[in-house]
Symmetry: C2
Subunit: 389 residues, 2 copies
C-alpha cells in the first residue's frame, strides 16, 4: 500500500507560515484550511520537469494537458462530459468564486446561499450589489429544501452550495441534489456548486456533482481545486466548469485581472488529476480514522454532541452549551487548550456557537489536540456545573 | 562573461504556445510581449528547491524573502526606501493594474493616461466607471507636459504612465519626470507608474522611478514585474509598491480574488532580484545590438523613419506612409513578410498607423524577420511609387 509521509509538528510549523502565524510555540493550529501533508511526489516531479524544460510561458488558452486531464476526470469521476471550452483554469477556487458571481449577477439580483458555508460564497455577491439570503441547513447539515423554496424571490438568480460542505462536512446525497435541481429547473435558476473537497467523503459515501444531474449542466457552475486535498495551498490553481458562453465571459474577465493562472501550477495540477488517485484515496482512509478519534474525544464532554462529518477535513461541533458568546469558544480553546480553531460565526447563519476544527493532520497531532480540547472543555463544564449547583 | 542561451526558432515555437498560437510554420512571431530567452538558472534552482523542500503553502503576508529582496532592490536600484507593509506581491503586473485602479478610483473620477501605452492602462479605469483622457506623447515619445496640464479637470485623480514605455520604448528622463511630479503635487494627484520594463534601457540611459522624486512617494503607485525581462511570462508574479494604507486596501481586495500569488513563484522572483543582475545586464547589452540591427533595416525603407527605442524590447515604427488603414500594416506584414507584429491602434491615441515589433529574440531571428519586413515594405513602396508616377 502506498502511503503519504507523516510530518512532525515542528516541520509543519516551519513550512506553514500562515497556518501558524502569530501563534506561540506550544499552540497546535487546527485553524486555517490547510493540509499538513506534503503534496504528491508526482506533482512535484511534473512541476520540476516543467521548470527544467522551459514550460513556464504564456498559455492563454490554458495548458492543453491540464484541460485534457480535467475533461477526463470530469467524465470519469463527476460524470460530467464537457468540451475544451467549458473549462477555465483559475487562480484557486477563490478566483472561481469571484468570476462566477461577477459574470452571472447583475446589481439587485438575488442569491440564496446555503449556510453555514465558506464565507466568500456569502460575501462576494454582496460586493457586486446583489442581495443575499442565507438559508440554514437542517440540524443534520443537509439541505432544507422547503426553506430554500420559501426564500425564492422574483429576483433570485443563483442558489449556492458548498458540497462537501465547509465547515459542516456534509456530503449532499443524490436524492436531495435531485430535489434541489427540480427547484432550479422549475424557477430557471443557476446553481453554483463549490466542490473543492470532493475527494474527501467518508463511510463509503459518494460525491455527487449536481451538474451531472439531468437538465442541470446548462444551469450549473462548478468550482474544483487542488489546494486543500492535495496539500498545495500556496500553488494557486483550480478550475471552473460551465457552459461555454459563461466560461468565455469568465476568461475575458480574468485575462484583465491576472492574465491566467501559472503555467507550472497547471502542469502540476494535470499530474494530480492523472496520477494521484492513490494519494487522495490514502488521505480519505487516513482522515476517516483521524476524524473518528477526534469526534469520539469531543463526545466525551458532557453536554456536547459532535456529529461525525460526512466529508471534508472539518469537524464543526456546537459548543454553545458551554459558552454564552459566539467567539468565546475559540478564544477559550486557544487560551486553555492551546489549540487554534475557528469561530463558527464567520460561516454565516447557523454557524454561531460552533467552532471549526481542521483535522487534516497526522493522527498523533489530532490526538494531542483532541485531548487538550476535551480537558479544557471538561474544566469549563465542571466550572459551570459547580456554579449551577 | 556570463551569457544566456540562444534558443532555436523551433524551440521557441514549441515552448511558447501563445506567442505562436494559430500561426503557420513559416511565420516568425514578434507579436505577443514575451521574451524568447529562457529564465535565469538561479530562478529555476530556487523554484525547484522550494518544491523539493515543501515550500508551497499559504503565505498570506507574502513570502518573507521575496518582500525582503524587493525592499533591498527598491532601495538599491530605484532609490525608493519602503517598509515591509508597502509592497504587495501580485499575480503579474496585470493584477497590479486592476488593483491600483480599483482602490484609487471612485466612479466619475478622471484619469489621464499618457498614450500610446499598454492597453489595460487605458481600458481598466473605464471598467470602473472612471473617465479617461488619453494624452499623446510628443513626436519623440516624451511627455507632452503642457497637454497633460491642459487635460486636467476638477475630477482628475490619477496620471498614468508606462516607463519605459510599451510600445514606444521611451525612457522618461529625470527632468521630465520632475516636471510631471510638479503637476501631480500642485494638483494633488496620484501617479500610477507601470515600470515592468525597468531593466531594459539603452545607450547608457538610466531608469528613474518617479516614486523616488521628492514629495512623490506618498502619491505614487508603482508596478514592477518579472514576466518580460526575466523570460518567465507564465509565472504569474510581480509586485506593487505604494503607501501602506493603499497596499492594505489592495491586499484585502486581492485576498478575495486570488488569495495571493503562488508561493513558488514568489521564491523564484526573490532569486531573480538577489542573483540575476548579470542576466538582465546581458539581455540589455544583447538587445541593444538586436535593436540597432532591426532599426537600421527598417530605415532602409524609403519613406519610413524608425526611431531607435530608448528602452523595452519594442520598436514602434510609423508605417502610415505606406498604408491607408490602421490595421492594414500588420495584416500586410503577416501575409507578405510572414512576420506577426501588433497593430498600433490598440495602444491608444497616437498608436494608429504604427506597428509594434517585439525584438526580444536571438539576433539571427530578428535579422531574418527584419529582412523579410524590409523586403515586403520595399515591395509595397515600389507598388505605391509606380501607381503615383
Amino acid at each position: 500500500m502506498v502511503s503519504v509521509e507523516m510530518p512532525s509538528l515542528e516541520e509543519i510549523r516551519k513550512s506553514r507560515p500562515s497556518k501558524y502565524f502569530g501563534l506561540e510555540r506550544d499552540v497546535i493550529s487546527l485553524g486555517l484550511a490547510e493540509s499538513d501533508f506534503e503534496m504528491p511526489r508526482e506533482v512535484k516531479e511534473a512541476m520540476i520537469s516543467a521548470i527544467i524544460n522551459g514550460r513556464y510561458h504564456y498559455e492563454m488558452n490554458g495548458v492543453a494537458e491540464f484541460i485534457e486531464a480535467a475533461r477526463d476526470k470530469l467524465l470519469r469521476v463527476n460524470n460530467i462530459p464537457v468540451e475544451e471550452g467549458e473549462i477555465l483554469p483559475t487562480v484557486g477556487v477563490m478566483n472561481a468564486i469571484w468570476l462566477t458571481y461577477r459574470v452571472l449577477l447583475k446589481p439587485g439580483e438575488h442569491v440564496i446561499v446555503v449556510t453555514p458555508t465558506y464565507p466568500p460564497l456569502i460575501g462576494r455577491p454582496k460586493s457586486f450589489q446583489a442581495e443575499v439570503t442565507e438559508v440554514k441547513t437542517r440540524e443534520d447539515g443537509h439541505l432544507d429544501l422547503a426553506a430554500i423554496e420559501k426564500a425564492l424571490t422574483s429576483k433570485t438568480k443563483i442558489i449556492t452550495i458548498c458540497n462537501p460542505n465547509n465547515p459542516t462536512g456534509t456530503v449532499y446525497t443524490r436524492e436531495e441534489l435531485e430535489r434541489l435541481a427540480e427547484i432550479a429547473v422549475k424557477h430557471d435558476l443557476y446553481v453554483f456548486s463549490d466542490e473543492l473537497y470532493e475527494n474527501l467523503t467518508y463511510d463509503g459515501r459518494k460525491h455527487v456533482s449536481i451538474a451531472s444531474l439531468p437538465g442541470m449542466y446548462e444551469r450549473t457552475v462548478t468550482a474544483f481545486g487542488f489546494t486543500k486535498t492535495y496539500g498545495m495551498s500556496g500553488l494557486r490553481i483550480g478550475y471552473v466548469v460551465a457552459e461555454e458562453k459563461i466560461i468565455r465571459l469568465m476568461r475575458d474577465e480574468n485575462t484583465g485581472i491576472v492574465i491566467h493562472p501559472g503555467t507550472v501550477e497547471q502542469i502540476g495540477a494535470a499530474a494530480a488529476l492523472r496520477k494521484c488517485d492513490y494519494y487522495t484515496d490514502f488521505l480519505k482512509n487516513y482522515l476517516e480514522r483521524v476524524r473518528n478519534r477526534l469526534i469520539a474525544e469531543l463526545n466525551e464532554i458532557p453536554g456536547i454532541f459532535a456529529r461525525l462529518p460526512e466529508g471534508t477535513f472539518f469537524a464543526f461541533p456546537d459548543l454553545s452549551p458551554l459558552f454564552e458568546k459566539d467567539e468565546e469558544a475559540a478564544e477559550y480553546l486557544l487560551k486553555e487548550a492551546k489549540v487554534l480553531v475557528y469561530s463558527g460565526n464567520g460561516f454565516g447563519n447557523g454557524g454561531a456557537g460552533h467552532v471549526r476544527i481542521n483535522f487534516c493532520s497526522p493522527l498523533e497531532i489530532i490526538e494531542e489536540a483532541a485531548v487538550r480540547i476535551r480537558n479544557a472543555l471538561m474544566k469549563r463544564y465542571n466550572a459551570i456545573d459547580k456554579k449551577m449547583s
